[in-house]
Amino acid sequence: MLKSIRSHCGLAILLSYYLIFIGVPAISLFYFSLTDITVSNLTNPTFLGLTNYIKMVSEERFVYNLLFTFELVAYVVPITFLMGLVFALFLNSGKLFLKPIASLLLVLPWVTPIVAWAMSVRYLFAPGGPYSILLEKVLGFPLRIFSDPVGSKIFLMINLVWISAPQATLFTISALSSVPRSVIEAARLDGAYGISLFRHIILPLIKEKLLIVLILIITFTIMAAEAILAFTGGGPGFVTETLAVRMYTEGRMFHNFGYASSIGVFLLIIAFILGLMLLLLAKER
């Protein structure tokens, strides 16, 4: 009886949290997306219906933003996920020399303010910057991050991976540490080592937790507006502009809150679909 009351209380708290901090803002966002709300009519916006959505999907730039968002997810998420997994396995092995230092170094990108970091990285890769000169000597050509579309994309992706890999590592370490030692020892007694131990024993046990890691990396990549603005400013042109950056520009720079909200709703739907797909996939397996 007491357990049931506790469970219901927990559920009530979760639902209240969802309603207040997620549900209401999401409904407001949807409502704003149907209006022409801007800074001059904050209190009395005009209802436009689906005009913002029609404008949005008919825009060439929006289509580009959407494609680049997917491109970023397609490259950044698997690399980050794999890096997180590899780092976590190393750090979890228990025999790593300099483990504390390695852990600290790994967490460093996560705790460094992105804008400050971006400024220094941009300096290093800028024309005449130390890395730029070094790369030119090693590769024979410079990595042009401000004027070359491919260069700027590579530069951005490297940095996004670098920023999100520590989070992936930490979550993966926590997943690995949940595997009972007795299970691993029993598997070893049965002759399972290395890749086979990981593949047949550990992976099935942490599969669901890894799914959470994957969802978090996808969310981070889709919503990485601050990092993109700091590293490339969405440029050159709008080559590295994702939907989140576009939403930021429309909402915070131009005050087209209605239009920005319609992009926000679209992003919400994408994130929801991706999350649902992953959950369904896990359930099937």
Binding site: S28, S40, L42, I218, H255
Partner: protein
């Protein structure tokens, strides 16, 4: 036994239910993060960065008589002005201590020009506090490119601000929002000579910002070149390009890609300065048009504007005297810094607001602040070398009383104090004095200021549009497609003109 089995079944299903609930919760949280961030970005303004309070300890009730005596050859503001005559309501008797909230962007923590200007402001506050001990100033710093937005949002959400600085370019939007108080009743109390002196300023001359903001400075586009790089290339370091052919020739001679050195550089990657410091002065320099009276883009229909953009493109792709990588850096400040590092011989995105900074970096001496004996060291300034000679210009930053101000009379006292010719004369961000009468002072009778004044005579205020920043963004993408992707000039200009007009003007 059967009951036990049922219980186990129930337990199992509860576990399953919890697992499913957990998965849903993860999905919900992930979506929630997206919704929260989306709401944040799409929604209102964030908190100000930092605040500092400069306060006087004394709290007294005073009846103040303000006496303004102006030194200088031609300016004389009425010898005695009582504070009661300045505003519609008496302000001379201020019964209680008043704190004015002043929003600006001179954050000393940012160093460089910001600190130099903040040091000057501290002196202004000190002088003001001596005359008005019961009015204190509380500063709030915002990034310069967010200040206007924050002021508009503050108006709408009721954040109390008394004084603020604002940009004339976005005035149409400010008017729509009603960000500032109408200064007409206050302006009526100012001496005509002072009004005439300020009225010359392009922003007021074209009635762009009158009567809500007082122009505090005058920024115009000028040319700046490295004397040392000219000398190295066998050019006379004191003779700059006087027309576009000279510009190309000088740029070719000073371009040395193997050393990472280029003849010219522009701020084409910056979301605002690509427009203000490159597109506008080039188009006007060729006699073209940018927007019509409504604010709609017309640049693609102007043959001169198309010619100007072709010329910019040629500097990169035909004459190869500019580096795409250097000029498409997203932050204008970094392009200006590269000039200081000696990587560009001629800076085609320079304006008078940067004089003090370049002086502090050893480019010249005695220009900002002005002295009677300026000396050019590593760099030199010259007039804008395009056919019509027109560059851009505007009243720089304007000082305004925010619509939410609870102490407009006291705020006006501060404005009146700051615009006194002897107080504003030392304003480092001034570029060229906002008051034309100050131009007669001996420190301005020098060669650099003669060039700048001649340039100032030819300026037009920056184009005003309700969608100013949106227009700036369009030209940034336009330049990218033309210069980097190699798309045809006229068609690309037309594409971006139509995109802008369709989106913002139906």
């Amino acid at each position: 036994m059967a009951r036990k089995g049922l219980l186990r079944k129930q337990k199992l299903s509860r576990r399953q239910a919890l697992s499913t609930a957990g998965k849903i919760a993860i999905g919900v949280i992930a979506s929630g993060i997206v919704a929260g961030v989306a709401g944040y970005y799409a929604g209102g303004g964030g908190a100000p960065l930092k605040t500092t309070t400069i306060k006087e300890k004394e709290t007294v009730t005073v009846t103040k008589t303000v006496t303004q005596t102006v030194s200088g050859p031609t300016v004389t503001i009425s010898p005695t002005t009582t504070a009661t005559s300045v505003s519609t309501t008496p302000t001379a008797t201020i019964p209680t201590k008043v704190e004015l909230k002043f929003a600006h962007f001179y954050d000393p923590a940012l160093g460089g020009p910001f600190k130099v200007n903040h040091d000057y402001l501290l002196k202004v506050y000190k002088g003001f506090a001596e005359e008005f001990p019961n009015i204190s100033i509380k500063e709030t710093f915002y990034p310069w490119d967010q200040l206007d937005d924050k002021m508009m949002v503050a108006k709408k959400v009721g954040i109390p601000i008394d004084l603020c600085m604002a940009s004339p370019q976005v005035w149409l939007k400010h008017r729509e929002v009603g960000t500032f108080k109408d200064l007409t009743p206050y302006l009526k109390t100012l001496p005509k000579s002072l009004i005439d002196s300020i009225m010359w300023n392009p922003s007021w001359r074209f009635k762009a910002t009158y009567p809500e903001g007082i122009p505090m400075n005058l920024h115009v586009s000028i040319l700046v070149w490295r004397r040392d790089l000219f000398e190295e290339a066998g050019l006379d370091p004191d003779v700059g390009p006087s027309n576009i052919d000279d510009l190309i020739e000088f740029a070719k001679k000073t371009t040395k890609p193997e050393k990472g050195q280029y003849g010219v550089a522009m701020t084409l990657g910056d979301k605002i300065q690509n427009f203000q410091l490159v597109f506008v002065p080039f188009v006007w320099g060729y006699g073209g048009e940018i927007v019509d009276e409504e604010g709609k883009a017309v640049f693609a229909d102007s043959p001169e504007a198309v010619e100007a953009v072709k010329e910019i493109n040629d500097l990169f792709n035909k004459y190869k005297v500019a580096s795409k990588e250097e000029s498409f850096i997203p932050d204008a400040t970094e392009v200006w810094k590269r000039f200081l590092e000696g990587k560009h011989a001629i800076n085609l995105s320079y304006f008078t607001g940067l004089l003090a900074w370049y002086e502090s970096e050893g480019m010249w001496k005695g220009i900002a602040p002005p002295t009677e004996h300026p000396v050019y060291l590593k760099a030199r300034i010259g007039p804008w070398p395009l056919p019509t000679g027109y560059g851009w210009g505007h009243g720089g930053w304007h000082l305004c009383i925010h619509a939410n101000s609870k102490h407009p009379d006291e705020a006006w006292e501060f404005i009146k104090y700051w615009i006194r010719p002897e107080v504003i004369a030392d304003y480092p961000d001034m570029g060229i004095p906002a008051h034309r009468d100050l131009w007669n002072k001996p420190v301005y009778q020098t060669e650099p200021y003669r060039i700048m004044f001649q340039q100032a005579e030819k300026v037009k205020p920056l184009p005003t549009s309700k969608f100013y920043y949106e227009l700036c963004e369009q030209t940034k993408y336009m330049f990218y497609e033309i210069i980097i992707e190699g798309k045809p000039v006229k068609e690309t200009m037309k594409k971006y003109q139509d995109t802008f007009n369709r989106k913002y003007y139906g």
